[in-house]
């Protein structure tokens, strides 16, 4: 029971950090390079703690993200829950593969997140799509090993299971 409490707080804290990083002020040109921390953290938890973290967490995190970013309420909740669903369905396969394959997985998940977000924006009548968003998916994939190491360390340190 005790370590369950632990894992709850660790998940909460990492998700909060991911949200804070998603609005961390960057210079204008560097904003295209910001990794999609929310998707990466949610994917990590869903892949490695599938019985604790699922679509519900992703949905809540997405809702907070919407409030924080001022995007349409539900936009990120929708996109992140779809991402979490994909991650959950394939967690047994992806968990076993190496960094390279996992990075490819993250790349596609971030792309799904961005495309769904833009789909919603298009529905609402805001159309401004730039191919530069691919950069975001790319930096996310590249920084995946880093995040993986850090989060695994956290898991060991706080006995999250």
């Amino acid at each position: 029971m005790d370590d369950r409490g632990h894992s709850f707080w660790v998940v909460l804290l990492t998700l909060f950090l991911a949200l804070a990083l998603s609005v961390y002020p960057l210079p204008f040109w560097a904003r295209w390079l910001r990794p999609d921390w929310a998707v990466m953290v949610i994917c990590f938890w869903v892949l490695f703690l599938p019985n604790r973290v699922g679509v519900g967490w992703a949905w809540l995190a997405g809702l907070l993200m919407d409030l924080l970013h001022g995007s349409y309420l539900g936009q990120n909740a929708f996109a992140l829950s779809i991402v979490a669903y994909f991650a959950h369905v394939s967690h047994q396969r992806v968990r076993m593969s190496g960094y390279r394959k996992q990075a490819v997985f993250i790349f596609s998940m971030v792309t799904v997140h961005i495309l769904l977000g833009q789909w919603v924006q298009n529905l609402m009548g805001v159309a401004d799509i730039s191919l530069l968003v691919v950069l975001q998916a790319l930096t996310s994939a590249l920084s995946w090993p880093l995040l993986h190491v850090a989060m695994t360390y956290l898991c060991y340190r706080f006995v999250v299971s």
């Binding site: 990083l21 910001r34 519900g56 809702l63 909740a77 829950s81």
Partner: protein
């Protein structure tokens, strides 16, 4: 299931009835934005702490000189304003609205890189309302697009979905200036090739449309290309406001509308 709820929420957010509770709910984002400001704030305070006495003295002297110049200019301004008022009375035309400003701090940039939107730490509680003009010391920055309880979002003139009506200060030619999605570039659309615009012309807000108060400098024309095959000239301009560097901005209040702290 949850994604269906999310989609329903999107639909609900489209109608206005959620606006009020949402503006309170999203109040939590101001502390988050402030938190992300902390590292840069700390380096800044460290810099001031480490900066030498000599450089501080130098800066002090420079600021004193600047203040002196500005004071001298405002002296003249008072008499000019009075003269302007008298002349307007002579012409029987309505006088300009008095405007006052409120200082706000920029606490964050929009997460979506395709948007030129930033977050300020003043919201509905401070009397901010949607559509309000935002300026800095140099010129017009943009307008408030979204007001929450304790913070609001400002769209810059360079956002690719932004357009405003301007006037060339030199001769009063009116045009529409549009954002391009690039931070240092504005485009002026539908300028006939024969229109009198030159590189270096100052563009000021015209006040048409009622959203922006008239007379604030917006941009300076940087390029005019006339292609004989095209009906319109390509006119580009560079915004005057320090869009990507400002830390403090001014919210403009016209006199009738709402409160203001300092004029």
């Amino acid at each position: 299931m949850l994604s269906v709820i999310a989609l329903l929420l999107i639909q609900a957010a489209r109608s206005q009835w959620l606006d009020k509770p949402l503006s309170y709910l999203s109040s939590f984002s101001l502390p988050v934005y402030k938190l992300t400001e902390l590292p840069s704030e700390m380096t800044r305070s460290l810099q001031t702490f480490l900066s030498s006495r000599e450089s501080l003295r130098e800066e002090n002297a420079r600021l004193r000189a600047e203040a002196l110049v500005l004071h001298a200019k405002t002296q003249k301004l008072a008499s000019l304003r009075a003269e302007n008022l008298r002349l307007r009375e002579l012409l029987n035309s309505s006088s300009h609205k008095e405007e006052s400003v409120l200082v706000a701090e920029v606490v964050g940039l929009a997460a979506d890189p395709s948007q030129h939107v930033f977050v300020i730490d003043k919201g509905r509680a401070d009397g901010v309302r949607e559509g309000q003009a935002v300026i800095d010391a140099e010129g017009l920055i943009g307008q408030v697009i979204d007001v929450a309880h304790n913070h609001s979002r400002v769209m810059m003139v360079t956002d690719s979905t932004h357009a405003l009506s301007i006037q060339v200060n030199r001769n009063g030619v009116r045009a529409i200036v549009e954002g391009t999605g690039l931070i240092d570039l504005l485009e002026i659309s539908h300028v006939a090739a024969t229109t009198d615009v030159k590189v270096g012309d100052l563009l000021i807000s015209s006040g048409l449309g009622g959203r922006f108060p008239a007379g604030y400098p917006v941009a300076r024309i940087s390029e005019v290309t006339i292609d004989p095959g095209e009906p319109f000239a390509t006119v580009r301009a560079r915004p005057l406001a320090q869009l990507d560097k400002t830390q403090f901005v001014l919210l403009v209040f016209s006199r009738e509308e709402g409160q203001a702290s300092d004029g």
